[in-house]
Symmetry: C2
Subunit: 215 residues, 2 copies
C-alpha cells in the first residue's frame, strides 16, 4: 500500500494529465473554429479557457499544500517544482488555443482566411494536436521515446511555419493585409503552442532520466 | 540580526531584482536595435539572453535549495513559489527582447521598418521600458501604487497596439508584406513583454496585500 504522501503525488500527477487532456482538446477545436469558421467551436474554446485556468489554479494550490504539509526533499521536491512550471506551460497552451479561437470569432460568420490558405492552417493544427497528444503520453508514461518523437513533430511545425512566411512575404500576396496579420498571428500562436508542449515533455524526461531529451 | 533563513530569502529577493534589471536593459537596447537598425545593439541583446537564462537557472536552483533546506511554510513558502513563477515571466521577457533584436538583425544593415512607422515602434519601446522599470520598482519596494500605475501603462501599450493594427489593416498599406509581418510580430512581442511585467507586479502585490492590484 502506498503511503499518504505518494497518494498525494499520484493525485497531482493525475490532475496534470487531466489538464493536458483539456489543452489537447482545446487546440483541436480551435483549429476547427478557424478553418471552418465554426462559431460554436470558437465560443466553446473561449469559455473552456476559464475551466483550464481554474484547473491550473486548483493544481497549483494542491502542489503548494503538499509542499507545506509533507516537506518533500530531493526528487519529490524537484518533481513538485517541475509540476509548477508545467502548469504555467499548460495554462499558456490553453490561452493560445483561445487566441486562435478569438481570431475565428472575430471573422465569423465568414471563414477567417482565404480558402487557399486553409490547408496550411489545417496542417499546423494537425501537427499541434499531435504534439499535444504526445506530450500527454509523455506525462502519463515518462517515455523518453515519445518525447524524442515530439521533437521531430516540432521540427515539422517549424517547416510549415517557415514555408507559410515565405508565401506571405512573396510580393504576389493577393489576400490583403487583414489576412496577413491574422495569418502571422496564427503562425505565432501554433508555434508557441508547440514550443510549450516540447518544454513540458523536456521537463518530464529531465526528471525521469536526468538528461535533456535531445530537444 | 536576521537569521540564516531570512538572509537567504533576502538573497533570493536581490537576485530577482537583478534579473529584472537585466530584462529592463534588454528591452531598451532591443528597441534601439530595431528603430535605428543598430546591429551592435541587436547582437548585444541576443548574447545577453543567455546571461538572463543562466541567472534565471541559478535563481531557481537557489529557491529549490532554500525549500529543501529550510522547509518553509505559509507566507515564506508562497513567496518562494511566487518567485518561481516570476522567474518564468522574467526569462520570457528576456526572450521577447531577443526576438525583437533578431528582427533588427535579420534586416540589418538597413533599418527593419519603413521610417514612417518608427515613431510607433519607439512609442511601444518607450512604454515597454517604462513598464519594466516600474515592475522592478514594485519588486524592490512592494509598492501597490507603482503596481497600479503599471496597469495604466499597460493600457497605453494596448492603445498603441490597436492603432497600429488599424493602420496596418487599412487597405492603403504601402509598405509591403515583409514589413507587415515584422510589424505584426513586433507588436505581439512588445504586448507580451508588457503582459509579463504586469503579471510579475500582480504577483508581488498579491503576496504583499493578499489582493489583486486591479490589473
Amino acid at each position: 500500500m502506498r503511503d499518504r504522501f505518494h497518494e498525494e503525488l499520484d493525485a497531482v500527477h493525475d490532475q496534470v494529465v487531466e489538464l493536458a487532456v483539456l489543452v489537447t482538446n482545446a487546440i483541436g477545436r480551435a483549429t476547427t473554429a478557424v478553418v471552418s469558421g465554426d462559431l460554436g467551436a470558437a465560443e466553446e474554446v473561449i469559455s473552456q479557457d476559464a475551466v483550464i485556468d481554474a484547473a491550473r489554479e486548483d493544481l497549483e494550490a494542491r502542489v503548494v499544500a503538499v509542499m507545506a504539509c509533507q516537506q518533500p526533499v530531493a526528487t519529490d521536491l524537484r518533481t513538485l517544482v517541475a509540476t509548477l512550471r508545467i502548469c504555467v506551460d499548460l495554462e499558456r497552451m490553453g490561452r493560445l488555443a483561445r487566441h486562435i479561437a478569438e481570431i475565428a470569432r472575430m471573422r465569423c460568420p465568414g471563414v477567417p482566411l482565404p480558402p487557399v490558405l486553409r490547408p496550411a492552417i489545417e496542417e499546423m493544427g494537425r501537427v499541434a494536436q499531435q504534439i499535444a497528444t504526445k506530450m500527454r503520453q509523455v506525462l502519463e508514461t515518462n517515455d523518453p521515446q515519445a518525447a524524442a518523437e515530439l521533437g521531430f513533430d516540432d521540427d515539422a511545425m517549424d517547416d510549415v511555419h517557415r514555408s507559410m512566411f515565405q508565401q506571405m512575404t512573396d510580393d504576389a500576396w493577393p489576400h490583403g493585409m487583414a489576412a496577413a496579420v491574422d495569418l502571422t498571428l496564427l503562425n505565432r500562436y501554433y508555434e508557441r503552442f508547440a514550443d510549450h508542449a516540447v518544454n513540458v515533455a523536456g521537463r518530464v524526461i529531465f526528471l525521469a532520466t536526468g538528461a535533456h531529451a535531445g530537444m
